[in-house]
Symmetry: C3
Subunit: 349 residues, 3 copies
């Protein structure tokens, strides 16, 4: 429980009068808030909800303050303040430091202070864990891997040998970092494996979702820069480089040796071909198919809009005739142009 006064102080916002006596036990949306919770308003669309809210306090912009039936915290960016407020309430349980008797830590591993290692976790030879690292149950940390201070690995995460993770990272359940990149040469009898000598190097403050796969490089490292956020089920191929603060929503796949710049966003299920360059500040809508390098910032899309299947089927057939259709239109234009004294463009005038 936090008082509204303490919370306002933490956020650097002006506290309403009597805030020292208002106890907050958590956050809530405007509509579902009850007394004892802090709500937030991110835009005018929620004005009706604001007028009815039962929250003990609402974070909002100055222009909506008068409409609130309850005390307010005024700021420019309520969504950001909501994010910061969220850190003041307990969410995931924080395990106490200590090594579970059912964990297996190689004697040559080097552990910082206040490390937690859960039951069934395995830390192999030469691994290094910084201060305050939390290793969940059944996690596997390979030989010579490095995990920076305060980084948390949830149950079932697998770090292969030599993988390096920075400080203050979060890796969710069953994610695999450092598996072999998909590298083969075609020989006379089939595929011949190319051993993968690189590793994966991940910066500070990176959050990685559940069931993600990030493969190790063939010769050099796969790179994930500081502040990158990656949702569940994402795949990053070997030798990729992902720039600072780039965000990958659920399910994208990035093929090998592609470089993505800083501050990009990939929406759900985006597919990126290999050996491309994506510049900073490029944004891609859901299921976009990135088959070429992108050199200009902006928003990109591909695919077709959803339609009733019966209609879609007719249009999808026509897609296969598009080039022919264009030629038919060109023939019509030529025929019409021949008939007329003036070309159609001038005939408009």
């Amino acid at each position: 429980v936090v008082t509204l006064g303490a919370l306002a102080a933490q956020l650097g916002l002006e506290a309403p009068s009597g805030a020292g006596e208002v106890a907050l036990r958590g956050l809530a949306s405007l509509a579902s808030a009850t007394p004892g919770t802090l709500a937030f308003m991110t835009g005018g669309a929620y004005l009706d909800q604001l007028r009815e809210t039962r929250a003990s306090c609402v974070i909002l912009q100055a222009r909506w303050a008068d409409a609130s039936p309850v005390p307010v915290l005024v700021c420019d960016d309520p969504y950001l303040m909501y994010a910061r407020a969220s850190r003041l309430f307990p969410a995931a349980p924080a395990p106490a430091p200590g090594i579970h008797e059912r964990a297996c830590v190689d004697p040559s591993a080097i552990l910082g202070r206040d490390v937690h290692i859960g039951a069934g976790a395995v830390v192999e030879a030469g691994a290094r864990l910084g201060d305050g690292v939390v290793v969940g149950s059944s996690v596997s940390i390979g030989a010579d891997a490095e995990v920076g201070a305060r980084t948390r690995l949830y149950p079932g995460v697998v770090l292969y040998h030599g993988v390096r993770l920075g400080r203050d990272c979060i890796v969710h359940g069953n994610t695999v970092i450092g598996a072999d990149g998909f590298g083969y040469a075609r020989g006379p009898d089939g595929w011949e494996k190319i051993h993968q000598f690189g590793s994966v190097s991940i910066g500070d403050g990176v959050e990685i979702g559940a069931s993600v796969t990030i493969d190790r490089g063939a010769l050099e490292d796969t790179l994930i820069a500081d502040g990158v956020i990656i949702d569940d089920q994402v795949h990053v191929g070997h030798n990729c480089s992902i720039g600072p603060r780039t965000a990958l929503a659920g399910c994208p796949g990035v093929a090998g040796s592609t470089t993505i710049g800083a501050d990009c966003t990939l929406a759900g299920m985006v597919g990126v071909s290999g050996h491309l360059e994506i510049c900073d500040n490029a944004h891609f809508t859901g299921q976009a198919r990135i088959g070429r390098s992108i050199l200009e910032p902006g928003s990109y899309s591909s695919g077709t809009a959803l339609d009733k299947t019966v209609r879609w089927r007719r249009n999808a057939v026509r897609f296969r005739q598009l080039d022919t259709l264009e030629q038919r239109v060109r023939a019509l234009e030529a025929a019409l142009h021949e008939q007329e004294p003036n070309p159609p463009e001038q005939a408009d005038g």
Copy 2:
């Protein structure tokens, strides 16, 4: 081994004469059936296979009964009866009740009768497991999580703290339920994490495939209703709600805060944007890109049909000129209309 007589009784179907003496050891397709197996026929396309089958008995509709060279079980819906018959034969081994000596169960966890907990499984403080629950090896069950009676968790499943699973559910290997939703606010120095206070609440009789991810809600719970079936590699974002009996085939991704109604079907690799409403009885074909709310039941699609790459490339170029092409057609229509005494529509008559 089951007798055909016992099986017919279980299914509520009329047994052929002598069925008490026919021993069945399993199910088979018409074409591969051998004596001692039960086959089924789901449509007239299999009539030739029926005539040649070596099964001991065939489940079929009355109209095909005369064509069968072997005894039959007649019913209206042979595929449904095949499903029910399948439960009378042993498939996956059923582990005996008991807690493996290599499992770690917190003393404050509450276990029902006849629970099985496999080697390396971890059950944290305050978790509650109903009667007959089966927990596979290396499963992690977080603090205060609840698992309903007879639910089975296959090896490597991770349930985060506070997740609730109903009765008679099945969760396949390495699925992760309750990881943090993908919630961040953009701050001056990058993404700032929004702590996720909701959980995941899953109804009764839900089956979830392998390597699935279902994220916990930001403020309220992510909801999966009774009787939902989810195939492998599916991702469900935070704050989604999936209605009763909706089916998600392999690999779809559903972004956060989307509500999907009852009795929907999402085929493989469907992508659903966030904050949408999908009504009951909406169906989506493979790789459909759901970017808007769907208010009318029916079947929906997007994408283009497959083509030879050389032809596809020409048509894909034309797709980028589609709007221009339409304008060219409009100009032609205008030009032709000008020349003619009557507009083209009337000229047809």
Copy 3:
């Protein structure tokens, strides 16, 4: 460390003079190579890099040999020779044979010589592991599963009961093989599960990436032939059959009962519908949507090319009018044809 002479002998290539004294500690790209490394050149585009390389030796085709400032190994296929050279240097650490005291191996399991079983791994009753098998930490091997000689299972892999894996396979972290196929019949109250009696049968020399799912068959086995390579996050549905040496890059999903021939390639995120036949030597570009059987070898694609979102939106709207647009063009052709003494096709000449 390997001498260049020994490496040349292993590859069957002619050693440069003095090769016995050149010690190689690893492989590198032309651009990043340092003395003590072996580089390779796969095409003329790298000629400038070749001229500047600091490698101790370069593998290349005869025509580029004169341009190299350092000793060379001449061959027809440098990329293949690079793959073979890669096996002569240590990549992933090879665990020593032995059963970890924290592993749980059922007494009825049958183990070959020199098997390694890591901490927390579970081998259930009746499983058979060939000589030299490596089982990573927290792996689960179900009852009666079979793993061929020298096959390596990385941490967290789950093999369900009865799954069969051939010799010399590699399975990366957290992959699940043999979970129930997605089989249900629609009953009056919802989906009724069809128990899955088949298994998964995987040939020799197969490599499977991380977080892959391959489901067990309903009545017969799901089949993966010799020499198949599968990247991370791939899903293979029940009763599929994948032919020899076929390659699946990251993230494709193959729905149930589809047969894919030999020597096919599926690029990233390809989706394949169920119950299809794909012939040998069929190739599919990224995100292709395979909704029909493919009977002719060649390269296939679907989808649209990427575009700026503002332009894409206009074209995507037009896609929904494509069939109408074609009818408008047809009407124009008919109208123009009526006006003219000759049909447009002849008017061109």
